[in-house]
Symmetry: C2
Subunit: 170 residues, 2 copies
Amino acid sequence: MAGMRIASCRAEFAVPDDVAYFNTASLGPLLHVVRDAGEEALRRRAAPWTISADDWFTDIETLRALVGRLVGDDADGVAFVPATSYGFAVAALNLPVPSGSRIMVLAGEYPSGVYTWRRHAAQFGAEVLTVGREPGQSWTDAVLAGLDERVAIVSVPQVYWTDGAWVDLG
Amino acid sequence: MAGMRIASCRAEFAVPDDVAYFNTASLGPLLHVVRDAGEEALRRRAAPWTISADDWFTDIETLRALVGRLVGDDADGVAFVPATSYGFAVAALNLPVPSGSRIMVLAGEYPSGVYTWRRHAAQFGAEVLTVGREPGQSWTDAVLAGLDERVAIVSVPQVYWTDGAWVDLG
């Protein structure tokens, strides 16, 4: 079944038949519809006399609602930022933590997901707890093993960036 | 002369002959070469297996050097940020001001160029000095009239955003 679904998905992506691309945890391939949307955005941007004030907001609100549906939330739970580091900075500014508490990150995490918390920990007298994986242990189990009442923030991805390993957030 | 130069520039922009576009202080028209670069970037992004680690840095360094040359500086004096507000925030974090000092902005400035300084002023016990233009007065003269020893930061654009009026920074 899974094989069938992958085969039917392949045609949706702008990946030629003679290319097998695996590095999706770093940089994903483009869907044809995403490529088309990019070209349409360029075409529109090249004719600024056709862009009205509403156009700055309409598409992004549609996208927020669609992403919300994808993650089981509503549009108000979704914000777009131009880089992960900016998103972390905004989150940190809104998450003061008690002195002596811990902020959990995964070992080898991408720097955007670590630097903000190092600074945040220093600012509040907290510490960064870096969770590693024992041989054979899943990231999910490693995270659960590190959780206790001292952990104030858990900052983990759904998919680990170097190998695509899954972290069960559910 | 100026008319001749404008005529010869027109062909460089992706603006049809039957369109006269003036709202450039808000959203500029695209040069053909910029549109082409956008299409090339999309084409490259659609083939992530051809993107190497160097590709994340090479183009931006070339661009920093070119922009530096344009503004009479070198690449080290140029940084790209995804939004004006982020640029202001980074600048503010690096510009502590004395209590009682002033931060100068222009009346009716775009919000990105004001909100950061309001907060900055509140943080340091400084104040925002909003400079308006008297009838017939240039922005440059209005700025010079507001300058005194209390002004710690002058935050003004080279071109006023609503009407394209020039501010002489030289």
